[in-house]
């Protein structure tokens, strides 16, 4: 089956006064229908810019300089801006980290929801749009949706607001949702609720979901494939259990070791020394070389290419971690 989204060698660069910043530099991955893919990385790894690039939301001085974003077979990088605008919010939707920033504070929820429907399909009547909005709110677990539709965003709590933005994203039955740190600002019990709703929705509606986060434990719980990003590149990607169970890239391995877990209580955590290099002057070789315990001489000279392994894992590393 053809994937819903097929990103091939995507490159998004920012042309700043101090030089070219390669925020995304050769990223490739695929998402199938109904699949949840996790994109994990630390701040500055380019994970959010990858999401923005798919939606065509990269502003100057940034630009997609190479690669293809095939969405159901069409290359989004070649489409005119007006066509992408039609797709945004209808075929592809986005959920952001902070719902207070994405909901309009001076409009009722109802207005914002019906607007999202009617903008994309003007043949829908007001009543019909209202009915669909109400159903969408009910679907994400908001009680008494009829009343709540009349409310303003500030009358909702953080978790409720995030549900509203999920409901808005689902309104036009998109084929793909890009969620950028959707639960990072939420409390544990509320995070559980939101994840639960998203899991159910993807299963029911066969929507593909790209879940962008810094939290490995969250994606380990929900996604079928995981991509780990570092300094603009996906250094390792593969099926969930393969990647979490036996990471091969030293960065993935270090990242997994630095998550506190019950098994290692009281023992020192495995730590990755140093900090993320500046994207403005990345080394010619592997960007992780200066923090890597397994670096070889060739890591300094040339960047490792993507290699497909037997277990469907794609790896960029010259000296992979051998799991015992």
């Amino acid at each position: 089956m053809a994937p819903i989204l097929d990103v091939r060698n995507l490159q998004t660069h920012f042309f700043t006064k101090s030089g070219v910043l390669k925020a995304v530099d050769g990223v490739s991955f695929q998402i199938g229908a109904g699949e949840i893919v996790g994109l994990v990385g630390e701040s500055g790894s380019g994970k959010s810019i990858t999401g923005f690039s798919i939606l065509g939301l990269v502003d100057a001085p940034g630009r997609i300089v190479g690669g293809e974003i095939l969405f159901k077979g069409n290359d989004l990088t070649k489409l005119p801006a007006t066509d992408i605008q039609k797709m945004r919010g209808s075929r592809i939707a986005m959920i952001f980290q902070d719902p207070m920033m994405t909901l309009n504070p001076v409009l009722r929820i109802e207005t914002q929801m019906t607007e999202a429907i009617q903008t994309h399909d003007s043949s829908v009547s007001k009543d019909e749009a209202r009915r669909r909005s109400r159903d969408a709110l009910g679907m994400v677990g908001i009680s008494s949706p009829d009343e709540r539709m009349r409310a303003y965003p500030h009358q909702f709590s953080g978790g409720m607001r995030q549900r509203v933005s999920i409901a808005i994203a689902m309104l036009n039955r998109p084929d793909l949702i890009i969620a950028d740190e959707p639960t990072t600002a939420l409390d544990v019990t509320i995070q559980g609720q939101v994840i639960h709703e998203m899991q159910q929705l993807c299963r029911k509606t066969k929507t593909a979901l790209l879940w962008i986060t810094h939290d490995l434990a969250v994606v380990a719980g929900i996604s079928s494939r995981i991509c780990v990003m570092y300094a603009g590149r996906i250094v390792e990607q593969g099926p969930n259990d393969v990647l979490i169970g036996s990471p091969m890239h030293p960065y993935t391995n270090g990242l997994l070791g630095s998550v506190p877990s019950q098994n290692l209580r009281g023992q020192p955590l495995q730590q990755i020394e140093g900090i993320v290099p500046s994207l403005l002057n990345l080394p010619p070789g592997c960007a992780f070389e200066n923090r890597c315990g397994r670096a070889l001489a060739q890591c300094k000279q040339s960047a490792p290419e993507e290699t497909v392994m037997d277990d469907q894992r794609i790896l960029r590393c010259f000296n992979k971690v051998e799991q015992s």
Partner: protein, 327 residues
Amino acid sequence: MTPLLTVSNVSRDFIKSLDLVAKFLNRLGQDHREEIVHAVDDVSLEVFKGEVVGIVGESGCGKSTLGKMVAGILTPSEGQVRFESANKSDDGPPDDLKTQMIFQDPFSSLNPRKKVIDIVTEAPIHHGLIKASEKREFAIEMLNRVGLDAEALGRYPHQFSGGQRQRIGIARALAVSPELLVCDESIAALDVSIQAQVLNLFAKLKQDYDLTYLFISHDIGVIEHISDRVIVMYLGRIVETAPIEAFVEQPNHPYTKALLEGVPRLEIGQRDYEPVSGEIPSPLDPPSGCHFHPRCKHSTERCKTVRPALIEIAPDHFSACHLNDSD
């Protein structure tokens, strides 16, 4: 053994007093009342020397307010916070310097217009612990403790990364040789790999300088990793306190169980989330009786009216839940 820190029946209210319009309308016969948030409601705890006590809870549970009262930044509305130094001496620093706080945001907790050397040495010089002429050597010593070089001395906070800034904040706290460190979400703003570095640093400092921690966090993974004893708070009250093994293996309170179930864990792998229902109620108007009863699947009539007391259900393991009542 006397505890290092004793917090007894401490409460803290925040009151939004009536503005002029409301006062005027009250004169005309309307009924406007002051809004009161009981951020911390009758909380008692003890911390012994060398312990790491974790306080965990969701937003609005009062964990930060409690931390600030322990550190002396806020005064309690009721109750007492008492600190008793383990090694008392007459010429040493006074007791109120012995509790230091490390804040969440390493960007806003350092003065952007001061150099690192001044940030670290300001307090000890002010309190007469060191002479101004010694400040350079002293600052180098402090920075070495937290893993920074002497070249950091002349730089300003904005020239450092988040993790390095948090180290500067820790060096500043260590400069007055504290015995108790209150860490309020101290690693929440950092990236995962940097979090591990700072957590390891905390563990090392504890050994090297015999420190005691009150570690406040919403991240249960971090709390489980570092704490010896855990205190769970919900809407201003302690609902459960337990040694770490009991907290992980035999949580008693329904809220603690719900929290532990909701934590994403690497070990579990793919799974379906079965969340607790309901929102966290507003602390302005908390539910009667047990604060957790509207979200609790075991709640009874009694939970709606009677506030459960914190009772000992196993050695050192306290829980405030009516389900533990024997009758």
